[in-house]
């Protein structure tokens, strides 16, 4: 569904993305993991066309990203920090988005608006909302048009445990609908129960992309958190496993 080929991006002196090749298929819940500043958000923003890569191509459902904006109707995006016009009221925001996208008859998905009880704050201006409430609004916006691809940047950061559970339950529900869900998070325990594939980025390079079973096997850890910690520390039971992954992933590309 999302095919990323040889993407590179440099911000002045910093190489944020370095020749990234990866293929995300539908039905996958992919965790994008990496230390701070490893390029996760830039990669996501490149998929959305918010950041223009220096070289390489991104195909979303076989449409070249960044040319025509229409492919974005297939994508629901929840940003890391949701920023909204100060004066706009919450209810107004939802009705505006509905109105702007009315030309395509989507069946609107208002599950999250209901379960987060956002209707109660419809009259509040966006600037009065707390960080967590903003996150809820962002989540509701991302899911509203039932997109085939969901991109969630740190979805549970800032949410209280209850809301976090509601959101995870929603992600689990969408997972059964054969969608592609991309999640970045540092709270690995949240990802544990959701994810099917793990992608690891470091200093702009894609170190590996593999399914969760293989990762557990390679690191000898069941918990995602411990497995990733092993990878980050560079200690692994089988020293050559990274080479192995690179071989398999390049085979995948040839396919």
């Amino acid at each position: 569904m999302i095919q990323i080929e040889r993407i590179s991006k440099r911000f002045k002196k910093l190489q944020v993305l370095d020749n990234i090749n990866v293929l995300f298929e539908k039905g996958q819940v992919v965790s994008l993991i990496g230390p701070n500043g490893s390029g996760k958000t830039t990669l996501i923003k490149s998929i959305l066309g918010l950041v223009k890569p220096d070289s390489g191509t991104i195909l979303v459902n076989n449409i070249l990203a960044g040319k025509s904006p229409d492919y974005r109707s297939q994508i629901g995006y929840m940003p890391q920090i949701g920023r909204y016009p100060d004066n706009m009221k919450v209810g107004h925001l939802f009705s505006m988005l509905e109105n702007l996208r009315a030309e395509k008859k989507h069946s609107l998905d208002k599950d999250l608006i209901q379960s987060f009880k956002l209707e109660d704050i419809y009259q509040k201006p966006m600037r009065t909302l707390s960080g967590g409430t903003r996150q809820k609004v962002s989540a509701a916006v991302a899911f509203m048009f039932s997109p085939d691809i969901l991109i969630l940047d740190e979805p549970t950061a800032g949410l209280d445990p209850l809301s976090s559970e509601i959101l995870k339950e929603k992600i689990r529900k969408e997972k059964t609908k054969e969608k592609l869900i991309l999640i970045t998070s540092h709270i690995l325990s949240d990802l544990d129960e959701l994810t099917t594939h793990v992608t690891y980025l470091q200093e702009g390079k894609l170190l590996f992309m593999k399914d969760i079973a293989t990762l557990q096997e390679d690191t000898g850890e069941i918990k995602l958190g411990k497995a990733i910690a092993r990878v980050m520390r560079g200690e692994h039971t089988d020293g050559s496993w990274i080479d192995k992954i690179f071989n398999t992933s390049s085979n995948e590309e040839k396919r």
Partner: protein, 255 residues
């Protein structure tokens, strides 16, 4: 396009600055017409205020609006809307509200007290200057990410067009007074929309007879039908070209 502009307009009207600006213009022009017995004297005073205040308000307001709408632009960019459409909607929203304010604030008094060719050319010049400076403001704003820098640049632009440029022209006229300068006068004035507007209106008034040789020089060119076409065309170019460049820059920008 208009759908999106409507939300921009709504946001601007709610901020109340535009209403204060309308009231200010209305009070100034209304009292000028009341104080001066001679309507063309009133128009002349009004002209001087318009040539200074209008560009300043237009360029500063548009710049601040752009930076304040950055969140809104970000949100819209993750929706299936093209960058061109988003920037143009912002521009039309700002340009329409500012020219609306001018039309109510100055237009109504002028139409009541001085409904003739001078009054109408004053209105035309005012609307064009508003649009031109909004367009320059958008170019300056997309070029810099920093708000303070953006506003600084727009203030410099305003200084240049209302004060510095006239000084430069005077200097040229003095240093090259031995040469026939009639030919380059239209070119020099075309390089500054404020000057162009001033000449365009002055020549419609009786006072132009008092300005001596220069006026005769101007009258030859700007008084003719071709001169009017020239003025309208050059002003349109001043509005379109900066906006065009702003779109080019905005299309390549990383958000």
């Amino acid at each position: 396009m208009l759908k999106l502009s409507r939300y921009v307009l709504y946001d601007i009207v709610r901020s109340k600055i535009i209403i204060a600006y309308t009231l200010f213009l209305f009070l100034v022009s209304f009292s000028l017409f009341q104080l001066e017995e001679n309507e063309s004297k009133a128009i002349l005073s009004l002209l001087n205020i318009i040539l200074i205040v209008l560009p300043l308000v237009s360029i500063v307001f548009s710049t601040i609006h752009y930076y304040n709408s950055y969140e809104f632009i970000e949100l819209m960019l993750s929706q299936p809307l093209s960058r061109k459409r988003i920037l143009l909607s912002e521009f039309f929203g700002v340009a329409m509200s500012l020219s609306g304010a001018f039309f109510v604030g100055v237009g109504i008094p002028v139409l009541i007290f001085s409904f003739n060719s001078v009054g109408l050319s004053l209105l035309f010049t005012g609307v064009m200057l508003t649009i031109i400076f909004a367009s320059l403001a958008f170019l300056a704003s997309v070029l810099s990410r920093d708000k303070a820098k953006g506003i600084g640049v727009t203030l410099l632009l305003w200084f240049y067009f209302t004060l510095i440029y006239d000084g430069l022209v005077l200097m040229i006229l003095f240093s090259f007074s031995d040469y026939p300068l009639e030919k380059i006068i239209p070119v020099l004035s075309a390089l500054n929309p404020v000057d162009l507007g001033r000449i365009f209106i002055m020549l419609k008034m009786d006072v132009s007879a008092l300005m001596g040789v220069t006026s005769a020089m101007y009258q030859d060119f700007f008084g003719s039908f071709i001169g009017v076409l020239f003025t309208v065309g050059v002003m349109a170019l001043w509005a379109i070209i900066p906006l065009r460049f702003a779109l080019l820059v905005f299309n390549k920008k990383d958000i």
